[in-house]
């Protein structure tokens, strides 16, 4: 294998692929970056066995100025190779297997020789057939991920809850996550209606990594098999394993009726909850209290050691009885952030029952649910 490439173009691909590569893993070859040079171009692959990312620099890509002198394949130590590539002196670099798996990297007057690994020992990526395919706008997908992934569980006691449940039915797409204290649900109607029925649970960690790669992408093609999902982002392929098992039926968790509805500006309420949480964070039980009545609403937080805070809230609309309810302010902050600067409606039944946050407009499309904390 021997190729010369523009360093800036190469680093861009290298950064994407590196997202999948773990510093430590039980499979040593996975700390490496796989490079394959063939007649068409150069393929970079990284994987931590949960996520795999593969991207191809084409010989037709002018900015890459890729010149393949000899085809071949090698696995190079990823973190170390990345550091080298980023510090090379010249605009271009040449990578060449010299003998065995020993590989030289030359650029300007610098010559590195590093020990690679046999590319044949690198695990094969899953083969995914393209029968079950969905096309999504990258912006929409990124928004859906950011709005739901906040509610995934980070506890391994119920692994299924560490994922987001994606379900497709005709052109209806729903994403739900819950850690059993809170729940986020987003619904979207897709443009294209040629979608098969599909149910999948994608690890939250995979979706967080995927979201970071969606910024300069327009459309994402999604393909699903029994235990893998593939997102195609142009020339870059993002694979994730799926979580196995049945996701709990979340529809019955969401209250369909409420006795009290209060409208707030999400950004204003977020700032007030932030301030109240300064106190609750100093206390052993991280709880703030919301009091709602016709005469006014306020949020309070306190820590016996440090002090207390109370703040009158600006209520835009109010319908129902008076209520005192306590909750974890960090759940509320995550939920409020996911709406951006819009007006939201918060719907309560009693101080012991979950309450929901929805946009004032288009309530069905997006629900954040929070379970209150019982206080005495």
């Amino acid at each position: 294998m021997k190729f010369t490439v523009n360093r800036t173009a190469f680093i861009k691909e290298l950064n994407d692929v590196s997202r999948a590569i773990a510093a430590r893993t039980t499979i040593p070859v996975l700390t490496g970056l796989k490079l394959v040079a063939d007649a068409n171009g150069l393929t970079l692959t990284g994987s931590d066995s949960d996520i795999s990312i593969e991207t191809t620099l084409s010989i037709a890509d002018e900015t890459a100025s890729l010149n393949i002198e000899d085809t071949g394949a090698i696995v190079l130590p990823a973190r170390f190779f990345s550091e080298i590539v980023k510090q090379l002196p010249d605009q271009t670099m040449t990578v060449e297997i010299t003998s065995g798996f020993q590989t030289t990297i030359t650029s300007g007057s610098a010559l590195f020789t590093i020990n690679g690994l046999d590319a044949n020992t690198y695990p094969h990526l899953p083969e995914i057939e393209s029968t079950n395919s969905v096309s999504l706008s990258a912006d929409t997908l990124r928004q859906i991920i950011s709005q739901t992934v906040i509610a995934v569980s980070n506890q391994e006691s119920r692994p299924i809850l560490t994922g987001v449940h994606f379900s497709f039915n005709g052109n209806e797409f729903a994403a739900v996550a819950t850690d059993s204290h809170r729940l986020s649900q987003r619904r979207v109607t897709l443009d294209a209606a040629n979608v098969n029925k599909a149910d999948l649970i994608i690890p939250g960690k995979s979706l967080n990594e995927l979201a970071k790669m969606l910024e300069n992408v327009e459309t994402v093609e999604m393909q699903v098999t029994e235990n893998q999902v593939l997102f195609s982002l142009g020339k870059t392929l993002f694979y994730s394993r799926l979580l196995e098992g049945n996701y709990p039926d979340t529809t019955r968790l969401i209250p369909t009726e409420s006795d009290i509805q209060v409208t707030f500006n999400a950004t204003e309420l977020l700032a007030a909850i932030n301030r109240a949480s300064l106190l609750s964070h100093e206390s052993r039980n991280n709880v703030v209290k919301l009091e709602i009545s016709e005469t006014g609403s306020k949020i309070t937080g306190n820590s016996p050691d440090v002090g207390q805070v109370e703040e009158a809230l600006n209520v835009k609309n109010y319908d129902g009885n008076a209520l005192e309810i306590s909750f974890n302010p960090d759940y509320m902050k995550d939920a409020l952030r996911s709406f951006g600067n819009i007006d939201i409606e918060v719907s309560f039944t009693t101080s012991l029952r979950p309450f929901i946050l929805t946009p004032v407009e288009n309530k069905e499309s997006f629900i954040q649910l929070i379970t209150p904390v019982r206080t005495f």
Copy 2:
């Protein structure tokens, strides 16, 4: 005590004073911020007993819009108070001692009540008489600090070496630091010649904090007592304790003659050393090798596990014999960075003796010395 103040102006002073406040300390009152309101303005004090910072907002300062309704003093939990102040909703805030040491902070609709401490229990700042005073340009002082503090020791086995040795003699000012493996020495001729002879050793940690505060300052007034130094930066006072003991005589460490002189561009050499250190960092003994001869110079680094690197160096001028010398690349990187993008001369005697780096112009003013590593 009761005062109202513009929050932005207050936060600026709070940030400066907070530099001195440690999160954990054996003296609990020092986790606090001391506030004193008197007829002239509001004084903020923070200290970790090594460094103390005091700053005053004057009632004459228009941007601060400071209004003192009642004079008085209190100590408030610093980290927590800072977080509150930064998240308050309104442009102004009011701080008031309501009963005992309980203090309210109000801004817009938010009302915080926090438990303060008796300001009388706060340690007094050192009293410094103004007989021994030096005036310095803030830019020069910042440069001197950044060029020398890199060489202070971070080991407590010889505490005196954790400081930078400042000496004044007439209008000659010298700053020296060494950790016994390397040494940095900077000399400056001061404009004002009315300087007394003075010798002091300032902890490197104090100088690092001071340097961060010098950005928007023009002139610094420095006053010294037996065990304290005070830097006056306009309305802000920065106190540091001095290290006690005699600083070793460093003049005899610096070779006055050399057999080999090589001129490099500091930035180019830094980049090459950076690349070579990628390999040496993977090795147990972190060493790179420089080879100089009439036919060319090169730097090499290697790690038995990972690989090796070699790079031809661009030598601008060369005088003397051939030489092979090994050293810690991290010391070299610190030293090279301190010169900026200029041409420097590196002067060697043998591969076992310390070598020095100086600017090509004005060699006496600035010396970096590095002790080589013996290799076999």
